[in-house]
């Protein structure tokens, strides 16, 4: 029994899966915090009334206010972004992101989105996946490292690596054999590196054939018990979601009609029909009216049951070969995609939940090699040769910067699209901006470790950038959060010499913080975050008769109002009421 459990829980999974899940979650969460959550901050603590999700939290936390909420959103977003850009995130740092994100929803029952709770569970799982570098996740344990010294150290380590030989169930004989094999591999690698003129696996370019072979190599495997935990956690969610829909109202489609505000038959000609395409397809088979709703009601339950089963089975797929399982997981992928894309199409107003789940479905259910090939193409790797189109020759800094600029500019382009397209715009921007960011953050422009002076410059740039961005976004609490992130970066730099190798890695986090500053500024200024925040604050103060506060909020709202939607009339009304009361008109900075 114990052996079986070890095989199920600790059995190998493709390292690219947890690696991508961690990076994608952190990056998406960063934008999610800035774009969709900060705008709701005005509700927090209004009138001095608040109820946290847990009674003990009410006793522990400071008075909740818009500034506290915005501060937590900005801090969590910046932290997530920096971790995603940096290399091999320490677990405690992911733990801090988990804590602050959890606090962001738990501080008040005003946030009742269940997927915020789900993201806390996901972060809990991701906190315990193996912390890997991109090379380890995509190229495997023999992936080259930074300096010749480090590469030699590693080869020697590997020759006497106790991990492999102490795997569960290893006998003394097998341990000896494994040690011998590791040593042989290390010798072979050194010989091969020496023959190809590579020094410690720097960024020299492989021959075309070998690079192509590396691109399509099988995905490296790792033991990751937390991946099984994550699969189980998501399966529980889908299972309960299915269970909750097995009541008669759901199965008959009545509840779905109620959610979508639709009648049994097609809506009136001038009314929007969120089920239009489904209706057309099913109508071609003669399914319409009540049978269509029965089919929809039952179909949602089936889809969620298949997804639940898929997430339970998926962690086992990388270590076994089975056509039946592969087929089922492809079905699970298609059902998950159809369900979540359908939810987005129907505009169910569930935040970015669908996009997270689409990403997880792809990462869990797609064949590992597909994910590895795409990731090797996308992510600049030390020793990756020509596997990626982001291979930068010396002097590629300008090209990297152009890609960065275009990537962030895409976020501004998102303003032109509909709100539901925002996550896709973020993905597009990340596809463009991430490779050069990672290239800079990991110092891939040179073979050796960057000298401390460069790291100190990066730290100063990062700290300054996040401090300035926090102040520039003009939301209460953002400046404090920016200064807090900057302060943490500086403290970490001051403490870095205490632990060998920390300073080098810190440079990557500093670049991450600088990029987070740009991303924060663009996210807030390219969207209606400030407009939504200030007009809601104005409305709330107005309802409660706080005229001066309402006036200030409306003035600010009008500064950020989209064309044709301003609240000038409200601003004038508040000014007139203040004048009638004989109260001074507040100065608005």
């Amino acid at each position: 029994m114990r052996a079986a459990l070890e095989r199920i829980v600790l059995g190998p999974v493709a390292a690219v899966r947890p690696y991508l899940a961690l990076k994608a979650t952190l990056l998406f969460l960063a934008f999610d915090m800035w774009v969709t959550r900060a705008s709701h901050a005005g509700r927090y603590g209004a009138g001095g009334f608040n109820v946290a999700h847990f009674g003990w939290l009410d006793a522990l936390q400071p008075d909740v206010s818009p500034a506290v909420y915005v501060g937590v959103c900005v801090f969590t977003g910046a932290l997530c972004f920096a971790i995603a850009i940096g290399d091999r995130a320490p677990r405690w740092l992911v733990g801090v992101a988990l804590l602050t994100h959890t606090w962001s929803w738990a501080m008040s029952m005003l946030d009742s989105y269940q997927h915020h709770y789900l993201l806390s569970l996901v972060l809990l799982g991701l906190m315990f996946v193996p912390p890997l570098t991109a090379e380890e996740a995509l190229l495997g344990p023999s992936a080259p490292r930074r300096s010749p010294t480090r590469a030699r150290e590693r080869a020697s380590d590997e020759a006497s690596d106790p991990d492999e030989s102490s795997a569960p169930g290893a006998t003394r004989g097998r341990r000896k054999l494994a040690k011998g094999k590791a040593a042989k591999r290390a010798r072979a690698r050194r010989a091969s590196e020496s023959a190809s003129g590579k020094k410690g696996g720097g960024s020299s370019v492989d021959s075309g054939a070998s690079a192509r072979a590396r691109l399509f190599d099988p995905a490296p495997l790792t033991s990751a018990w937390a991946w099984t935990l994550l699969g189980g956690s998501i399966a529980v969610v889908y299972a309960y979601t299915a269970l909750s829909k097995t009541d008669p109202e759901w199965l008959s489609g009545a509840a779905l009609r109620s959610v979508l505000h639709l009648g049994i038959d097609a809506p009136a000609a001038d009314a929007p029909d969120p089920l239009g395409p489904f209706r057309a397809v099913l109508g071609a088979f003669g399914v319409e009216g009540e049978p269509l709703w029965y089919l929809m009601g039952h179909g949602v339950v089936v889809v969620q049951m298949i997804c639940a089963a898929g997430y339970l089975i998926a962690p086992l797929r990388d270590s076994v070969k089975s056509r039946a399982l592969d087929a089922f997981l492809i079905v699970a992928l298609l059902t998950a995609l159809s369900f979540h894309l359908g939810a987005e199409y129907m505009e169910l107003k569930i935040g970015w939940f669908s996009w997270y789940m689409i990403a997880y479905a792809a990462i869990f259910f797609l064949p590992a090699r597909w994910l590895a090939v795409v990731a090797r193409r996308m992510i600049p790797l030390r020793g990756g040769g020509e596997t990626g189109w982001w291979t930068f020759a010396p002097g590629g800094v300008i090209r990297a910067l152009i890609r960065l600029l275009v990537g962030f500019a895409m976020l501004y382009a998102g303003r032109l699209g509909e709100a539901t397209l925002e996550p896709l715009v973020v993905v597009g921007a990340l596809v463009l901006a991430l490779p050069p960011l990672r290239w800079l953050a990991r110092g891939l422009y040179q073979d050796d470790e960057p000298p401390p002076a460069i790291v100190y410059v990066e730290v100063v740039v990062g700290a300054l950038a996040i401090g300035i961005a926090g102040a520039a976004v003009d939301l209460p609490g953002a400046q404090t959060a920016g200064l807090l992130v900057a302060g943490l970066l500086l403290v970490a730099t001051a403490l870095a010499p205490l632990k060998k190798g920390t300073l080098t890695r810190l440079g990557g986090y500093a670049i991450g913080v600088a990029a987070a500053a740009v991303a924060l500024y663009v996210s807030v200024t390219a969207t209606d975050v400030r407009w939504d925040y200030y007009r809601n604050v104005g409305g709330d103060h107005r309802r409660r008769g706080e005229i001066a506060e309402a006036y200030v909020a409306y003035v600010k709202a009008n500064r950020y109002a989209p064309e044709g939607q301003d609240r000038r009339a409200r601003e004038e009304e508040m000014r007139a009421r203040l004048e009638a009361m004989g109260a001074p008109i507040p100065e608005v900075p």
């Binding site: 190599d217 018990w225 909750s244 089919l295 270590s319 008769g545």
Partner: protein, 238 residues
């Protein structure tokens, strides 16, 4: 690059029973889906179709586990499992414990007696939101009841949450009201709702400001008419 570390998992030789289990599972899932389609199209609420569907999923999971147990762990993992038996035991305990905990937490809603608190239940489309509710808060002073304009006191989001009969919020509101300098003798909230099927409920929450116990009373409502017009806040909680 040598792919010694990343070889394709060497599958165990195929065993007919295991293959039967896997493809049988797929078949059962397909059978369940087919039966569901039939039931739905003939306007029947499906009952029997769930069995092959769930059985098929369990068979597939069992086949995957069986296959995994028969397949040797490849060498050269990027990160091997914990070396010590204790470390491996802790990892297994963490996975089993945390997944079990997550499976248990929603039962608080599904098996509990508070149908209004849907938090942590993974009920993605709320059953409470679709109710049409009319809520009114009162301060009781010298035997009389004075209506309270909630929208002028607290953020509108709290009013919506109270309309959904969220017990913790209603209790906190009553205590908050009683903690004022000019506290009334008692604070009270009445919430009358009609479900989409026409089922009517009226809940009354009350706190005597001299005491400490919040009482909740379910008032019987006749199912024959619209919600009584009042000066309170109306909404379906959207």
């Amino acid at each position: 690059m040598s792919d010694e570390h990343a070889r394709e998992p060497s599958a165990a030789p195929p065993r007919p029973p295991r293959r039967m289990l896997a493809f049988g599972g797929l078949g059962l899932v397909a059978l369940g889906v087919g039966r569901l389609l039939y039931d739905a199209l003939s306007l029947q609420r499906s009952v029997h179709a769930w069995l092959p569907l769930v059985a098929g999923a369990i068979a597939l999971l069992a086949a995957a586990i069986w296959l995994a147990l028969d397949t040797p762990v490849p060498e050269g993992l990027v990160r091997p499992p914990p070396a010590s038996a204790r470390g491996r035991g802790l990892a297994i305990a963490a996975v089993l414990g945390l997944v079990a905990l997550q499976a248990l937490i929603p039962l608080r809603y599904y098996l509990g007696d508070d149908a209004y608190d849907e938090r942590f239940s993974w009920r993605m489309f709320s059953a409470v939101r679709v109710h049409d509710c009319r809520m009114q808060a009162y301060d009781e002073v010298s035997g009389g009841a004075r209506p309270v304009q909630l929208m002028r006191l607290v953020q509108v989001g709290w009013v919506t949450t109270m309309q959904r009969n969220r017990e913790a919020v209603l209790e906190r509101y009553l205590r908050w009201r009683c903690a004022r300098d000019d506290a009334p003798d008692a604070a009270r909230v009445e919430n009358a709702c009609v479900s989409p099927e026409g089922r009517r409920t009226r809940l009354v929450w009350r706190l005597d400001c001299a005491g400490d116990e919040v009482t909740r009373e379910d008032v019987d409502e006749p199912n024959d008419g619209a919600i009584e017009e009042a000066t309170g806040v109306r909404g379906g909680g959207r």
